[in-house]
């Protein structure tokens, strides 16, 4: 045998392909009014929860700055015959909890969900809130009839009123009557006609795969077009009220511009609207009853009589279990190899926006319009600068058609900027940088101004959002860590940089050195 003092594997660290996780889903959580969010509490549930990890590979899910990046275990990826379905429940102190249903289909390696958290005490452009206490006696019963009503304002013209009969007792989830000095009532009324209410709808979108429809006990897929929705919470002391001994009456005014999608006619007195309740813990909608539209004080409204508490939604519901999603291919040759985030809006014939998503556009990108109802719809693609890049019709979004959406080039000048980050660790050579989402804002803008730039694949990102000569702050998120590279000026179309020990650390040596140390730490 050959003679040597050196083991062939000496100083060889096995370096792994950093792109272990192929399927990624990003959730961007923001406050409805743009305020800074407190720490988020996250729970993954649902059929395929076991396959979902933080993109860094940990089971614990992180949300630094409201950015949640989920990944699928490479051993449990979706197939052509089975997609992955799970829920993510997002909670924060002082905010209404939200349960977001998620689906990852075969080939959908990246998706972005925008999630809006509503502070329980905030009025927003699409919602009003009222909190009131109602006195109860020693048996826990109301001593007189009580009414709690939201107040209309310049933004939200519709109201919701809760009427509680005298002698009503309040029960917790276990069915025990609660006693105390008063019952606290929190009532949120949503303006169903405002596109901003879309993100405040239960689950953050109108499509759901967990709907118990009339005459059934099994949840199925459905799509809501709400005319009204309201969130009612009651507490006695610290305990949450879940039901009552006497039904309460909820009177909610309808979106005055609501059109019945099934007939194309504006809603009117005498129309029937189904009422569904929603539980955030399970993410499930359940049919309750059908209400008849009436007029009161010149406004159309419906009454809901209920013995339990929850979120209520009134409006048409379309079953989508037998639907096949529309497949979309985007054509944007002007993008070349770059990427650019765009908003895609879906609306009904009457102009009501029923779906909105953020898409990281690239030329020849394949995507889907998931869960849409089988009624004529329209799509609109809007550029980051507000320009409409494409509009079109979807005659039957349920038929599984394939469409090509050709996007016109925005009128503003576009620079195709390449950012490539190579990291050279001491004694290791160039290491592999895992795929990550990169966010940006104009240099010096407030922290809430960060927007998604794109996804860096193996350290490379090509974008059309940056302008040569401008300066930006960049943010990357990995696990629980946030890395910020401040005040980087785009001086060239190709801003590729290699950071390494002994190498020129470029124009921002302090920031590049920090990146170098961070990336090489895990190898020592």
């Amino acid at each position: 045998m050959l003679n040597s003092c050196r083991n062939p594997a000496y100083n060889i660290d096995v370096l792994f392909d950093a792109a272990v996780i192929k399927y990624k889903a990003t959730l961007l959580v923001t406050d409805a009014k743009g305020a800074t969010l407190p720490a988020l509490n996250l729970t993954i549930s649902g059929a395929d929860a076991a396959s979902i990890y933080d993109f860094s590979g940990t089971k614990a899910i992180y949300a630094p700055g409201g950015i949640i990046t989920l990944g699928v275990n490479p051993n449990a990826e979706p197939t052509t015959s089975k997609s992955l379905k799970f829920n993510i429940v997002v909670k924060a102190n002082g905010y209404e909890a939200i349960n977001v249903p998620m689906e990852i289909v075969n080939g959908q390696v990246s998706q972005i969900q925008e999630v809006t958290l509503l502070k329980s005490t905030d009025n927003t452009t699409a919602s009003t809130v009222i909190s009131k206490t109602v006195g109860i006696d020693a048996t826990g019963a109301t001593t007189a009839a009580a009414t709690v009503a939201t107040v209309a304002n310049a933004n939200v013209a519709t109201t919701t009123t809760v009427s509680i009969a005298s002698g009503t007792q309040f029960k917790n989830a276990a069915g025990a009557v609660l006693t105390g000095s008063a019952v606290g009532v929190q009532l949120i009324s949503f303006d169903a006609g405002d596109p901003a209410s879309l993100s405040l709808f239960p689950g953050g979108k109108l499509a759901s795969n967990n709907v118990v429809m009339p005459g059934s006990t099994t949840p199925t897929d459905a799509f809501f077009i709400p005319a009204a929705s309201t969130n009612i919470k009651m507490t006695v002391g610290t305990q949450e009220v879940k039901s009552f001994t006497t039904p309460i009456t909820v009177t909610t005014q309808l979106d005055p511009s609501y059109t019945m999608a099934s007939t194309g006619a504006p809603v009117k007195v005498g129309d029937q609207l189904p009422i569904y309740s929603y539980q955030v813990e399970t993410g499930q909608f359940t049919y309750e009853s059908t209400a008849t539209v009436f007029s009161s004080g010149g406004k159309l409204a419906i009454n809901i009589s209920t013995s339990h508490l929850t979120i209520f939604v009134a409006g048409e519901v379309f079953a989508t279990a037998n639907c096949s999603d529309t497949k979309v291919s985007y054509a944007a040759s002007w993008l070349s190899t770059g990427t650019r985030p765009v908003d895609v809006e879906i609306s009904t014939n009457s102009g009501k926006i029923i779906a909105k998503s953020l898409v990281l556009l690239s030329d020849k990108l394949n995507d889907i319009f998931p869960g849409l109802p089988g009624i004529p719809l329209h799509y609109k693609v809007i550029d980051a600068n507000g320009e409409t890049l494409s509009t079109g019709d979807l005659a039957n979004p349920c038929a599984g058609n394939s469409i090509i959406i050709t996007l016109t080039q925005p009128s503003i000048a576009i620079d195709n900027i390449t950012l490539q980050l190579n990291i050279v660790c001491p004694n290791k050579g160039i290491i592999l940088v895992p795929n990550f989402d990169l966010y940006y804002k104009p240099a010096g803008a407030p922290a809430t101004a960060y927007n998604i730039l794109g996804t860096a694949a193996k350290g490379l990102i090509k974008t059309t959002l940056l302008k040569k000569g401008s300066s930006y702050d960049f943010k990357a998120v990995w696990g629980s860590q946030v890395k910020i590279v401040p005040n980087r000026t785009i001086t060239d179309l190709d801003m590729s940089t290699t950071v390494g020990e002994g190498l020129d650390l470029g124009k921002n040596p302090a920031a590049n050195n920090a990146l170098l140390i961070e990336a090489c730490k895990s190898l020592n």
Binding site: M1, L2, N3, S4, C5, R6, N7, P8, A9, Y10, N11, I12, D13, V14, L15, F16, D17, V20, I21, Y53, D54, S56, G57, T58, K59, N73, P74, N75, K428, G429, I430, I431, L432, G479, L523, N524
Partner: protein, 231 residues
């Protein structure tokens, strides 16, 4: 290439050299004196034809074959790695033996100095490095077979020189005797490459280090026993 081939060669050589004539008679025996050897040692198993030209000088030609494999678990700087080394060596060699001392009638007469060389029709090795155990990417477990492996291939020079020493005729009977030799081939700096499969496919940064590690493997030591059969 196996034991069968070795013995077949031995038998053929035995018949082939039977026809050598023209011997010189000296006080030390007849020259040239032909024998065949079966060899076993670190360069493998082999067979030689030895022609003793005179008391001090002899020449040998033969073949040796060494199929070899070795496995170990080695803990690298941060992760345990499983190393499997396979080597396949086969050479045809030509050696010149010199007895520096021929008239002391003692053990010094048995000492030989050898120089020569070999042509290697096989002199390559391969190393397969895998992660020993289950790798954890965060909390995701990736077993070694899904991770892939690093494959190192090493190729030495085809023609290499040899130098060595030995003892001849340590124990002899009428027609056969034993000897041993110790020496080394200089194999030169090998060509070494490292590639990866599956999740290790992009492991180019280790290729230079592997080549550096294998550059230390330049000598093939030979410790060999010879069974000589005089013809």
């Amino acid at each position: 290439m196996n034991i069968k081939f070795t013995f077949l060669s031995l038998i053929l050589l035995t018949f082939a050299v039977n026809e050598i004539h023209a011997q010189n008679r000296t006080p030390y025996g007849d020259f040239p004196n032909v024998s065949v050897s079966a060899t076993a040692g670190t360069q493998g198993l082999g067979a030689d034809v030895k022609v003793k030209l005179s008391q001090p000088f002899g020449v040998r030609a033969g073949v040796s074959i060494l199929p070899f494999n070795w496995q170990t678990v080695y803990t690298g700087r941060s992760e345990p790695t499983d190393l499997k080394l396979d080597a396949d060596f086969a050479n045809a060699h030509l050696m010149f033996d010199w007895h520096p001392s021929t008239d002391h009638d003692n053990i010094l007469d048995k000492f030989i100095l050898t120089v020569g060389g070999a042509y290697w029709w096989k002199d390559k090795g391969s190393a397969v490095i895998t992660y020993d155990g289950t790798y954890k990417y965060g909390d995701i477990e990736i077993p070694s077979d899904q991770l892939g492996e690093l494959q190192g291939k090493v190729q030495w020079k085809k023609v290499t020189p040899y130098i060595g020493v030995g003892l001849d005729n340590i124990f002899s009977a009428r027609t056969f005797d034993f000897g041993f030799s110790i020496g080394t081939y200089y194999m030169g700096k090998p060509d070494a490459t490292l590639t990866g499969t599956k999740m290790l496919a992009a492991n180019t940064s280790n290729s230079d280090q592997f080549a550096k590690n294998m550059s230390y493997y330049r000598f093939l030591p030979v410790v060999q026993l010879n069974l000589n059969i005089n013809l």
